[in-house]
């Protein structure tokens, strides 16, 4: 610290590394005395603060000057300090003296024994020196001998070394010279491995000395032979007959011969390709002629494909991988190159194979039993899994699944088509059976039975198709656990595509009957409309939900894609049923309307004779209405009648004819009050509801009949208004209307409706009459009862 700063010997102060051990303490002073640097002392430098180490005032320093020291002390210190210093110094001197004495005493014996030892050593060394001299002389002799021997043997040794070198060289040369012959022999013996080993040993040497003509000759020979050999190997390689092991050896050797690996890969693959393609061709021939039937069933086809083509493909892949891909000593590049080539090769060939399989699947059109196809697809898929395991880099597995999915979708489509065709056939059958009995002149066919048969056979067909389709999801089928088959197949394929699609097509077909025949009329038998309407209604009430529940149970739908809800399907079916029934009413109404219209339009109402009978057309109308009533009654319930009247139609009619009817058009005959007619009829209309003629009907017999009668009577009314009547014309209409009144009321839900319309007809006729003299009600009744 301060001491280090002032000291002229900075070395010890800095480099002190010795620990201040207590053992060294006693020597500290001495050391200081002898001027040796003592780090311990310096550590204690604090004892004499402000002292000048090494300077003339340093009492322990080498350059101590007592004069200076004293002067300094005297100058700087007080008396007390001087006194202290003096005592201190005396103390130090004393301790130094005692230290010295102790040292001398301690080391005295050691000095004596050291002196003795030195003396003894002096004697011993003398003896040793003599012996050493002797040894030196002997060694010299030995050296001389040895030198002499070496010099004599020198030449021979050199010669031997040289000879042995020459010998080795000669052997190598001999090997080289013999190499062509050996190689030839090896080739002859087909010991190609040996030949390659020989050649690979010699190759580098030959290469090194190729500038020498003789070696070059050898090299040329060897290369020729080896080229030949390589050629042979390749031939063998190319030759299909050699087994896999031979082939592997060939490739191994060729690779050792530095043949380019890429070329070998290509060759190997092209060779394999030839064979595989030949197999594919055989497969293709089994497809049969285009347009013709396939030679054997699909399972057999797939079996052959699997057993021949796919298994050979597996073999090729396996051996190729063994040869080119999975070898430890291969460079990474080559492995990758080889792998890429293999993948491309496999993909290419599999593509052809797939296209063949797809073509075969497309030939599978029969929509009966599905199990063969499913089994075939399963086998196909299973074998591809094995192949894919061998070669994960190729996309065969995915493509194979893709094919299976496509085939399945196609299958579903075919089933839908088949169902639709079946439905159409059913319709044709129904049409025929509807038409046939009429020709035979028998009773009309039992509609309920027809409907029952039709809906049962359609339902059966649906069930069997569901069963066929269900095979695709069987547990033992490998592809059934693919995501497609778990989700989309069930929901979109079977439920939506097949079942919902079929139900929709049923409705659509039915609706077409309403549209296409609407204008032309008559091409669809009305009975069929009625039947289909009931069918659709049945579907709405029960069949749809039954089928869909069945489907959902069989195909547990795990998919969450949106599906058509039962309600919307039911709504569609109901709407279809409604339209069909409306159309039925329209068609039937039109048929009766036409009869009435013709009957009104073609007659000369002014010059007609007095009515004696109900016109035949009215009887016909009633007959037709009755038969329609029977027909509808077979399929639809009775329905509710409004204000059910007593079955006595007479009583009702008498009210209608006498009081109301008379009061209605009696005033109009009096010329004084033409307004009253309108007023009266208008007032009456105010209280009666407006009648919609072509309005939707309800699903019951009464409503259907009401609709038909409404349409017919309204036509009657409109036709009457376009004609002019004579007295007897009016009376004829009166008779006709009474007759209708007698028979039609029982068919409709509200008999007032019939009354109202018939009133209108008679009223309008009276208006259109030149000489309106109504017939007596009693006469009318008599005529009608007679008719």
């Amino acid at each position: 610290m301060s001491a280090a700063q002032g000291g002229p010997l900075p070395g010890p102060a800095e480099g002190g590394s010795e620990p201040p051990g207590g053992k060294r303490r006693p020597h500290g002073m001495l050391k200081l005395y002898y001027g040796l640097p003592d780090p311990a002392g310096e550590a204690r430098g604090g004892l004499a603060p402000g002292e000048d180490f090494g300077g003339p005032t340093d009492i322990n320093g080498a350059h101590f000057d007592p004069e200076v020291f004293l002067t300094k002390l005297r100058k700087e210190c007080s008396l007390a300090q001087l006194m202290d210093c003096e005592t201190d110094m005396v103390k130090q001197i004393r301790s130094l003296d005692s230290d010295m004495q102790t040292l001398v005493y301690e080391n005295y014996n050691k000095f004596i024994s050291a002196t003795d030892t030195i003396r003894k050593m002096k004697n011993d060394f003398k003896k040793m020196e003599d012996e050493m001299d002797c040894l030196a002389a002997n060694m010299a002799v030995i050296t001389e001998f040895s030198a002499r021997i070496s010099s004599t043997l020198q030449d021979q040794h050199e010669q031997i070394t040289k000879l042995s070198g020459v010998h080795t060289l000669l052997r190598k040369l001999q090997f080289l010279f013999e190499l062509p012959a050996r190689l030839t022999k090896c080739v002859e013996l087909e010991a190609y491995g040996q030949a390659v080993r020989y050649y690979s040993k010699a190759r580098s040497i030959l290469h090194q000395y190729q500038h020498m003509p003789s070696f070059q000759g050898i090299q040329d020979d060897c290369q020729k032979i080896m080229a030949n050999l390589a050629q042979k190997l390749r031939e063998k390689f190319r030759d299909g007959g050699s087994g896999a092991k031979d082939l592997a050896e060939c490739v191994e050797l060729l690779l050792q011969l530095d043949e380019p690996a890429e070329e070998l890969c290509d060759e190997f693959l092209s060779h394999a390709r030839c064979r595989l393609e030949a197999e594919l061709e055989t497969l293709e021939t089994e497809l049969g002629q285009p347009g013709g039937a396939p030679i054997n069933d699909i399972l057999e086809f797939i079996d052959r494909g699997c057993n021949i083509f796919v298994s050979n493909m597996c073999l090729v892949i396996a051996s190729y991988q063994e040869l080119f891909v999975s070898r430890e000593d291969k460079v990474q590049d080559i492995t990758r190159m080889a792998q890429d080539k293999l993948v491309a090769f496999v993909n290419c060939l599999m593509e052809t194979y797939f296209s063949l399989v797809e073509r075969r699947i497309q030939l599978e059109k029969g929509v009966g039993d599905n199990s063969l196809l499913v089994r075939a697809l399963d086998r196909f898929h299973r074998r591809l899994q094995a192949l894919a395991k061998l070669l994960p880099a190729s996309n065969v597995a995915a493509e194979g699944t893709e094919i299976v999915v496509r085939a399945t979708k196609e299958r579903i489509r075919q089933y839908l088509l088949a169902l639709q065709n079946f439905y159409q056939d059913c319709l044709t059958d129904v049409r025929q059976s509807l038409a046939a009995p009429r020709l035979a002149g028998k009773e009309s066919p039992n509609l309920a039975e027809l409907l029952g048969n039709m809906s049962a056979s359609v339902l059966n067909q649906i069930k069997s198709v569901l069963a066929y389709v269900h095979l695709f999801t069987a547990k033992d089928i490998t592809f059934s656990n693919k995501p497609y088959f778990k989700g989309e197949f069930c929901s979109q394929g079977v439920r939506e595509g097949l079942i919902v699609g079929f139900i929709k097509s049923i409705c659509q077909t039915a609706r077409q009957f309403c549209e296409t025949t609407g204008d032309k009329g008559g091409s669809t038998p009305p009975t069929l409309l009625l039947l289909l309407s009931r069918l659709c209604l049945d579907y709405e009430t029960s069949t749809i939900s039954y089928i869909l529940t069945l489907t959902d149970e069989q195909f547990l739908v795990q998919d969450h894609t949106p599906i058509t809800p039962v309600t919307s399907l039911c709504a569609e079916a109901r709407e279809t049923a409604q339209r069909l029934l409306n159309h039925y009413v329209k068609v039937q109404g039109l048929i009766i309307s036409q009869m009435l219209r013709k009957s009104v339009e073609t007659r000369d109402w002014v010059n007609t004779i007095e009515p004696r009978n109900v016109r035949a057309v009215m009887k016909r109308v009633v007959e037709d209405t009755t038969s329609i009533d029977v027909q509808v009654g077979l399929l639809y319930e009775e329905g509710i009648r409004k204000a059910q009247s007593s079955d006595s139609s007479k009583r009702t009619f008498s009210v209608y004819s006498s009081s109301r009817q008379q009061s209605r058009y009696a005033p109009s005959y009096t010329p004084s009050a033409p307004l009253d007619t309108n007023l009266l009829s208008n007032i009456q209309k105010l209280f009666s509801e407006r009648i919609d003629i072509f309005s939707p009907v309800e699903f019951n017999k009464v409503s259907v009949l009401t609709g038909i009668i409404k349409i017919s009577l309204k036509t009657f009314l409109e036709c009457v208004r376009l004609r002019t009547f004579g007295r007897y014309g009016l009376q004829q209409i009166q008779v006709d209307c009474y007759y209708l009144q007698l028979y039609l009321w029982r068919f409709v839900c509200d008999e007032n409706l019939v009354h109202f319309l018939l009133d209108e007809i008679v009223g309008s006729t009276a208006h259109r009459c030149l000489d309106p003299v109504p017939m007596e009600q009693s006469v009318i009744e008599v005529i009608c009862e007679r008719g």
């Binding site: 204008d519 002014v606 010329p671 033409p674 919609d692 072509f694 309204k714 208004r721 002019t724 030149l770």
Partner: protein
Amino acid sequence: MEDAAPVIYGLEFQARALTPQTAETDAIRFLVGTQSLKYDNQIHIIDFDDENNIINKNVLIHQVGEIWHISASPADKGVLATCYNKTLDSKVMTCAAVWRMPKELESGSHESPDDSSSNTQTLELLCHLDNTAHGNMACVIWEPMGDGKKLISLADNHLLLWDLQESSSNAVLSNSALLEGKGQLKFTSGRWSPHHNCTQVATANDTAIRGWDTRSMRQIYYIENAHGQLVRDLDFNPNKQYYLASCGDDCKVKFWDTRNVTEPVKTLEEHSHWVWNVRYNHSHDQLVLSGSSDSRIILSNMVSISSEPFGHLVDDDELSDQEDHHQEKTKEPLQDSIIATYEEHEDSVYAVEWSSADPWLFASLSYDGRLVINRVPRALKYHILL
């Protein structure tokens, strides 16, 4: 924007025949012909005072018989033609004649309806369209754009073209065409196209519609089975020369392009009974009226096949005005739709006609003699105009 209530006018007799006074373009005036076998038939001249919502009527006696069809001359306000039933020796014949109404009634006299003295005026007969050789007259149609000198009448299966000469006092049959075919063919109605220089006429018989060229009197198009049942009426689109509307007993109104008649362009099926009448609005051909024996009148907006484009084409001027442009954008183009169903009638409606003076007004006539004058809803009117 409350729509004005319909105005109802009652005739004493049953009636089928209605026409606007075609030559009148200022006053709203309709002619109605009555049907009565007992009394003298009448032609009511109905003046409608739009501002006061009042109807003024004048009655002309039409003594010759009940009126089945009436049509007013497009050139002379005072001239009209009727088809009427004549009973002779217990034989009923439908004849046609051209009439002139008294001069003072031509432009409507605003006398009070109670004034009975004016109610007894008679029509002046100009000429008969002699049909003894041709059968019953179904209707008489005037050349729409002409000078009121050319007429076509449909008599059973004859299409007759007449020239009126000597100030309409003489009708000369200038040309005719005969409809031939199986059974008894009968024209039910016809319309004269205002396009092609008035050389085309369309007629309906049974379920078919035929087009005729008046120069050659040859058939130019034929829509077989235009309707499932009888075709009742026709009308030409006043702005689109190939468009034709028809209606019939299948409750439908159909729109046709006469260049391609295999399928209708559009079909409306809104009525619940036979449709007797269909009429295009004279100015805004998207507005179509139809009257039916279900006692209803339906006003439809057939924008998609009208001459007016969907929405409005925005002019450049309007584009520059930001506000206007904004307004234009908010206005949605109208879809084809039923605008209104008018249910004021209690009986079958056999005639419905637009006014020739006010494009937003129309009259309808039901069999019980009720004439109803109605307007296009104001909201739609402004939508079309603005």
